[in-house]
Subunit: 253 residues, 2 copies
Amino acid sequence: MTSNTAGGPTRRERMRAETIAEIKASARRQLQEHGPSGISLRAIAREVGVTPAALYRYFDSLDALLHATCVDLYDELIADTVAAMDAHPEDAHLERMKSWIWAFRAWAVGHRREFELMISFPDGKAAMLIDGEQLERDPDLLSRKALEHSQLCGREMAAFYRKAERGEIEANRPAELPAMSEGLKAELMEKCSAFIVGEDMPLAWVFSFTSGWVRVFGLVVMEAFGSLPVSENVDEFYKTQVLSMMHDFGIEG
Amino acid sequence: MTSNTAGGPTRRERMRAETIAEIKASARRQLQEHGPSGISLRAIAREVGVTPAALYRYFDSLDALLHATCVDLYDELIADTVAAMDAHPEDAHLERMKSWIWAFRAWAVGHRREFELMISFPDGKAAMLIDGEQLERDPDLLSRKALEHSQLCGREMAAFYRKAERGEIEANRPAELPAMSEGLKAELMEKCSAFIVGEDMPLAWVFSFTSGWVRVFGLVVMEAFGSLPVSENVDEFYKTQVLSMMHDFGIEG
DNA sequence: ATCATTTAGCTAACGCCGTTCACTCTAATG
DNA sequence: CATTAGAGTGAACGGCGTTAGCTAAATGAT
């Protein structure tokens, strides 16, 4: 057996978990100080007080450690976002969506180095079948985490739509939908059923949601990487952008 | 004297330029194959057929080489964009702006690795005064290149506005402007006078232009980094986004 | 044509880096 | 208590960016 009589984690397991946490913390520190490419296995070992080789008992490679760090960062972003959203009542969907945006922005700008790592971490494919045996590093885990993050907003959107449909809140029809092929319509509906789990909103809502998602992403990336053409009044600029997006949904205020 | 009697470049200068080109080409190849962090000075030296140390006769450091490469990439992007825009007559501002978007997108998606380098290259500050002597690496050169790129679009926008103002083309007032402080208004006008050189457009146009710029940037980054929620019908999705942006300017079609 | 100077390139070395392998010691297991 | 699995070590390999000192060739001036 791998666990003791009490069923809890073994002493060894606790020690191991603690070491892993220490390693990750050190990696994180280096990430913040020297950027994604400045993370050094040997430096981590030095900081943890251990031989470089010892780290291989915990991670298959530096890449694996980076991947794990990346996953942690997503979890952190998601936790922060959830906390921000939960500052508003469950049915204040609009406010919760705004909080989602603000939390995303705050996190990305406050953790530029981390955000850089998350955005540019080599996608999929990197992990493949080797001798028919699946690697530990799940290629899609990161995409799934990113999806999980966006779903936080998608869910609110869906709930908002439902309420509007029932006439419980004021919302006009989203702005006029551009003409598009059946193919694009289908793909939008399909891909966005991933964002907005189990709900089917009309195409106009899905389209506006996707457009908004692109706009927010653009804002956040530009600000984090320093190419936003507004710097002193960024907060307010975001607000005007949010207003403009809400307008697309036929919502004012 | 450093040049011969004919006034043209010396034999040595020609050789030197050729070698530099060779080095850059090799760096570029490695960038495409192994990504920004996979560029190795020693590998370049190997490929060029020279000792690693020899490269220091041409670039102060690997970082300097990367910086130079980055500048070249911007020039390439700008050249491509200009060529695409020039496929339309000088006064077809709308078409030229669309071409700008398409060229940007095509370049970024067709050169993901390069785009990654350009976006994440450490900004400013890196180059500072050393012993009161300016370094060769100009910290703002990259920002200026990025500006140059966006100005290509800004100029068309300004020209379009001028024509619309003169009543030579149909264009309604841009959509209603969200309320904003004098501070933001001033900053928008100021920062965007950088995009739209020498012209002063009304705030509503400047705001819509900036919003559109953010949207395009979001689209391009998301597609290049694989987080765009549309994949099969991307072309068409871009078109709908462009239509939606044009709508913000009060333009249909 | 000769000499001095500039310049491109070399070799060798330094101190980093990620990774592997064989080994030891210690702590948990049966 | 004997066995075993796990954590850790030390040494090595090849690769990296960078520096210093040297050589030889091309250049420019006399």
